[in-house]
């Protein structure tokens, strides 16, 4: 059945806080869960709900994203009608200025939205690992007669940058503001995923752009709480928002919990990603692996515990990888040890080296480094 919804994804957001992991890439193409990139979750959820006209607004460093997505074939998005359109970050074709905020960014896709026949738009950040049913969101939006549906989730002791939401008993949002230190316990926060009628979005963006506004939440949503029905749709399934290295580490390690994997990989949507045709993982005679996620292409001769190994990682004899994340093509040579360490793609840890971070702040080894 043809879906009446299109989507616009932001490839970059909060990336300044991921430091070493986003030097070479946008947040959207941050590797997660052993074989995925973060954008896989948004794309897979959309495709699963038959939302197949998807615009992606890039910011900087989008080569890795383009390389990952190609023509969208791995998500079944190589279509004659719809599919993926990638928008460079320039406000106008003639300008050299990269957009400042979401309002300008959305303004760059004005033509894309106007041309589309779809009635609704999903706008979403791509730093979220989740598995939800967008059909349910659409149903909620229509049943409630909402102008804007804001997807929210519960956050324990939210950090200052989170946007905290208050809603009345009918789920109408009555207040939105940045979290403050006093916000303790579980607070409802925006997921930065919105469901909105396309024509309304265009007119809100046009107006805000004319005033020179740039912040979608502050300058559009917050100011519309009285005049529009802005509704709260709380996502109760597992959600991982990746905005800092500790949250990246924490949410990665949560995948070792079978309940989290069940929710994230099997609940509503099949999570699709770029297919690399790696061989099955190979365990050596002396390997010892406990409580770990191991992707295809890995060759393990040593010890791996409480860790995540991405595709084609090699762990040499006598090497010990504990509480760590080793991204694609990493090589941990003989007798090297890693503890609370994240190594980016193509990192080599030579014989006998010892690296250790701390649970609250894991050590990060930048892409391609040899230690």
């Amino acid at each position: 059945m043809k879906n009446n919804t299109m989507a616009i994804l932001f490839a970059a957001d909060a990336e300044n806080h991921l430091n070493d992991l986003t030097i070479h890439r946008t947040t959207a193409s941050l590797p997660f869960g052993g074989r995925y990139r973060l954008i896989d979750f948004a794309l897979s959820n959309l495709v699963s709900a038959n939302i197949t006209k998807i615009g992606i607004i890039t910011k900087n460093n989008y080569n890795s994203l383009m390389d990952h997505i190609r023509q969208g074939r791995d998500w079944d998005l190589n279509r004659k009608n719809g599919g993926i359109s990638v928008y460079p970050p320039y406000v106008f074709n003639s300008s050299h200025d990269v957009y400042k905020g979401k309002i300008e960014a959305l303004y760059t896709t004005r033509g894309f939205m106007l041309e589309a026949s779809e009635e609704y738009v999903v706008i979403a950040n791509t730093n979220i690992a989740f598995n939800i049913d967008f059909d349910e969101v659409e149903k909620f939006h229509i049943e409630k007669g909402a102008d804007v549906t804001v997807l929210t989730y519960k956050v324990e002791d939210p950090i200052v940058r989170k946007v905290v939401v208050s809603a009345d008993k009918n789920n109408r949002i009555t207040d939105m503001r940045l979290a403050v230190d006093a916000d303790k316990g579980a607070q409802l926060c925006t997921l930065n995923i919105y469901f909105i009628k396309k024509d309304l979005l265009i007119s809100l963006v046009d107006t805000a752009y004319a005033y020179g506004y740039d912040d979608f939440e502050r300058d559009i949503l917050q100011k519309s709480l009285d005049s529009l029905y802005v509704m709260n749709y709380e996502v109760k399934d597992y959600v991982a928002v990746i905005d800092r290295i500790p949250s990246y580490f924490k949410h990665s390690m949560e995948l070792l919990d079978p309940k989290v994997r069940e929710s994230l990989f099997y609940k509503h949507s099949t999570i699709l990603t770029k297919v690399k045709d790696s061989v099955p993982a190979r365990y050596g005679v002396d390997s010892s692996v406990k409580n770990s996620i191991i992707a295809d292409g890995c060759v393990i001769e040593g010890t791996v515990e409480n860790s995540i190994l991405f595709r084609s990682v090699k762990v040499g004899k006598g090497a010990v990888v504990r509480n760590s994340i080793v991204m694609e093509d990493g090589i941990i040579m003989e007798n090297a040890t890693l503890d609370y360490t994240i190594t980016d793609k193509d990192v080599i840890i030579k014989d006998g080296r010892h690296l250790s971070g701390h649970e609250s702040y894991p050590m990060v080894v930048v892409k391609g480094k040899v230690i």
Binding site: G34, R35, P258, P280, V289, K290, I293, G297
Partner: protein, 401 residues
């Protein structure tokens, strides 16, 4: 009126219609080429990947026996890069004509019935492959030799140990040349150790004539090995052997299927290395997350693919995607096919567990084997989707389901 059929110098025809009766319960519901292999592949991935890696982009797959799984697996050919505007992969089942229609009577008849398909591409050469061999081979190199020899037919051969030669179709060559003078099917007293690998390149114009003549002969069995090749030899056509060096195995029996899987595991000894960026073996991807080994899991000397969860002990085994191995379960020397469940406390040794099968709690399947002769392993087999009850026992070499 031909659609997207520009001339191709060379195309491949893949015989995938055989039942594979010697694989027993594994081919009850699927054709042999669709049988899972090596944790994430199907047997047919090998000839298909070889074609693509050799630059052959037009492939006809001849199906007949239980074709649905195979058709679905191949789909539009995208996993092998065979979704092409010009050429690509075509499933060729038997079909009706205006006045008649029949099943494929034999391998030669299967190609004969598809002469129109081949003619559509007006090829100079046709590569003939079967869907039950595990190997990596550059057909382009074989074609170069075929052309250099101005051959009518080139047959790939493998030098096997002389004492095993009587198990194969053996080609006898003229002096020190590669020219074939005689073909003997499983000879009692082999004169050479050059075994046919069942991989042929024909000059199409010549093969076409022989196919038509063969079809006109009511006494013929319409088989390449029994009719076409002997006829061409009798007529002194230019026939050459192409000496292949490397890993090759016919996986037509339970024992050889098990062996070939173990050969990937023991890649250094066997020479079957699949982790080769220059010669990838492509397969349809199942979109599963990476596999997980739990705190109680123990894995040694094994292959494991995506979506699998290991709570028990795994040793010397090939574990496919989407498998569950329960707490306290023990798996040794076995092939666990996709989606199988080995429940808590079950003990599986030297066995092949079919896809989707379930081995109940504390069941015992197979036995640890002493060293056996190649091809004579006493492997236990549990049929695909079979549910073995809790506590049941299955002996060595038994086939259940």
């Amino acid at each position: 009126m031909s659609i997207n059929s520009k001339k191709k110098e060379c195309l491949a025809m893949l015989l995938a219609g055989g039942q594979g009766t010697r694989l027993g319960v594994l081919t009850n519901e699927v054709a042999k080429p669709a049988v899972p292999f090596g944790a994430k592949y199907r047997i047919i991935d090998f000839p298909l990947s070889n074609c693509v890696n050799s630059g052959i982009d037009t492939i006809g797959v001849l199906t007949q026996y239980r074709p649905f799984e195979l058709h679905q697996y191949i789909g539009n050919g995208q996993p092998w890069d065979l979704d092409r505007l010009n050429g690509g992969i075509y499933i060729l089942p038997p079909f009706m004509r205006a006045s008649s229609g029949e099943w494929y009577k034999g391998t030669a008849n299967a190609i004969y019935q598809n002469i129109d398909f081949i003619d559509n591409y007006d090829p100079e050469y046709v590569v003939l492959l079967s869907g039950d061999h595990i190997y990596k081979m550059d057909y382009a190199d074989m074609l170069r030799e075929h052309k250099a020899n101005r051959a009518d037919c080139t047959i790939a051969v493998l030098e096997v140990p002389m004492e095993e030669a009587s198990r194969f179709g053996i080609l006898n060559l003229k002096g020190n040349t590669n020219q074939i003078v005689e073909f003997e099917e499983k000879p009692k007293n082999p004169k050479s150790n050059k075994a046919s690998m069942g991989i042929y390149i024909f000059t199409w114009e010549v093969l076409r004539r022989y196919l038509i003549a063969d079809e006109a002969n009511p006494a013929s069995e319409n088989d390449f090995g029994k009719n076409i090749i002997p006829n061409m030899l009798n007529d002194k056509q230019r026939m050459f052997a192409y000496k292949f060096q490397g890993y090759w195995k016919d996986v037509g029996t339970i024992s050889s299927l098990w062996e070939a899987n173990m050969d990937i595991l023991n890649n250094r000894e066997s020479g079957l290395n699949l982790d080769d960026d220059k010669w990838k073996i492509y397969a349809r991807n199942m979109a599963e997350p990476p596999h997980y080994v739990s705190p109680t899991g123990k894995v040694q000397h094994s292959l494991i693919s995506e979506g699998t969860v290991v709570h028990g002990t795994v040793k010397d085994s090939v574990i496919s995607h989407s498998v569950t191995i329960g707490k306290g379960a023990y798996v040794e020397g076995s092939i666990i096919m996709p989606g199988a469940v080995i429940e808590e406390g079950a003990d599986v040794r030297y066995s092949i567990i079919g896809w989707g099968a379930k081995i109940g709690k504390n069941a015992m399947v197979g036995e640890t084997l002493d060293q056996c002769r190649p091809g004579e392993w006493k492997i236990s087999v549990i049929a695909p989707k079979y549910e073995l009850t809790e506590g049941a026992t299955v002996g060595a070499n038994e086939m259940i389901g």
